[in-house]
Symmetry: D2
Subunit: 180 residues, 4 copies
């Protein structure tokens, strides 16, 4: 059995380094062959992002909401996520990402805004009901030559966190209807 | 096998309603008999909170850091956690709560500050390496007569989240040395 | 001599109540006849918000950056400003609102998100170099029948703040070249 | 006529570099001889910070609340202000710093937490009714040899901001009873 994974990239420019970091994180985090990956590069959907209603956007939103795991990635604009990523998330109703395990990821030019993922993007995802299993990931764009090393370390921290969470989960009372 | 649970209460007044809400949450979340509970009411330790070094405080800090699950609870002062709770957390070194599954809980007079647990206390705990498996819990103090109902609903949401996290954990690559 | 004032509204729907609250605030804050008002309803510019370059958008951005005072207003989406407003602000370079006195304003359904203007929109404007002379304003949309009363109270607080600021300004060392 | 200025330092260790940066900022910002400075080093008051009631603490709180300008300075602990500073601010009632022009200042080891003053300490002060006329100041402690240069630049930005604010103040409707 596999898990459904989404990567949502909020860079107004397509095929960005941010996208590359996000997909690398998924590959380092999950066992090969254990997941189906849906990649949503919002740069491809700028023309529809404010359209309402939009079957196309609704399908994208639903795809992410049905994921087991989703990485929400954006370059850092004005110390936080882009308006493009926020506009995509704005399309959800209250609690629209309930139950989705989510990893917030921001790329930036230097360490100045490294609080962004944990203090700004993570709370936004939690508002929507997503579950963020650890710190957000901040990646300094000039370190693309160390991509594997840095993403591997982040993935190891998330794996450790998931293992600790599973231990607590085993002692939490069973709830009817939450498994899928 | 049991899990170690801590409840840390940052109310300058002892035996507060905040303490009562926090312990009720643990009881609703975990199976009876499956956990050992350590309760730290910081009102009992105000005289030592800035002492450095302090064997007594170091023991309290270590006890929480070694927990599988910890609830960090505080009344809302100036829209966020109290200085007393922060002073306790300030005693940790960087990453001092690594691997602890943590639930942020604030009590308040009305809905005005209900963003506090998710937007302020949760990021603080994540900075220390704790893992926050969902939204923070905000409890309006005038609703003590509905304590069981409200805490039960919050516990059900956390249980659902933990179940979802365990599902992803099962597909994350194994890491040597993270289990305890 | 008059001051230049901008009102920027980030509601994806045009001519919103949010717009009405923002313009009412300006009218209560400044002396009649003492200001020139530019109103930018971003709902009218959705098709261009991600266009790059765009002479039209550049003119709008410049107009706000050259204002003495600007109100940035948005409905509350996911506990904070809309992606539409953020996308407009993302077009500025670093420090692009330097020296602009700015008032953050969010409208919302209830008090649940009342921390948004002060804790989320105000810091975003400060990142861009804008000067926020007080708390952000949160307006519960169901109180439109009390618009004048509530906005008048907010304007009085800002006027008091500006008076206090002017008093400190009189004792701050003179800087060459900052007056306009 | 002079203005009353307070410097409040939240470092648990007395006579810190943080204190030195804060007083240097006041000296660069205001004209010599134009202000009376009260310096509150909270390290000297740890034993009383949770005492309630306390005439001594009440006098300190009142002194700051009656200031025209106050600098609130703290080292960065866990990405934000210390528990000691928060505990001092917790002693105020709602709106307890109304009308005080306030500058948030954090010192830190590197740029990692540079969002703290603007995104965390400034909103806290605004919650209390203080008026923050610009970005918060973040000072990297290893740059003490450039203290005058860096603080001078920050002071120049605040002076420019105050000048812009005074310009808007001149067009804001007069309010009875706000001058002192």
């Amino acid at each position: 059995m596999t898990v459904n994974v989404s990567v949502v990239v909020g860079n107004p420019k397509p095929a960005s380094r941010t996208l590359k970091v996000a997909t690398a994180l998924v590959e380092h985090l999950l066992d090969p062959g254990s997941f189906d990956l849906t990649l949503i590069d919002l740069a491809d959907h700028e023309a529809d992002i404010f359209a309402w209603p939009s079957e196309k956007m609704a399908a994208l939103n639903a795809s992410v909401a049905e994921s087991d795991l989703a990485v929400f990635a954006s370059p850092t604009y004005k110390a936080t996520y882009t308006g493009l990523l926020k506009a995509f998330l704005d399309r959800y109703p209250a609690n629209g990402l309930a139950g989705v395990v989510a990893i917030p990821l921001l790329t930036g030019a230097d360490q100045t805004h490294s609080m962004g993922p944990t203090h700004s993007l993570a709370p936004l995802l939690a508002e929507l009901g997503a579950i963020v299993p650890g710190r957000g990931l901040y990646f300094v764009a000039s370190q693309m030559d160390r991509l594997d090393e840095l993403v591997s370390a982040a993935a190891a921290e998330y794996r450790g966190n998931l293992s600790r969470l599973a231990r607590v989960a085993a002692h939490a009372g069973t709830v009817e209807g939450v498994s899928r």
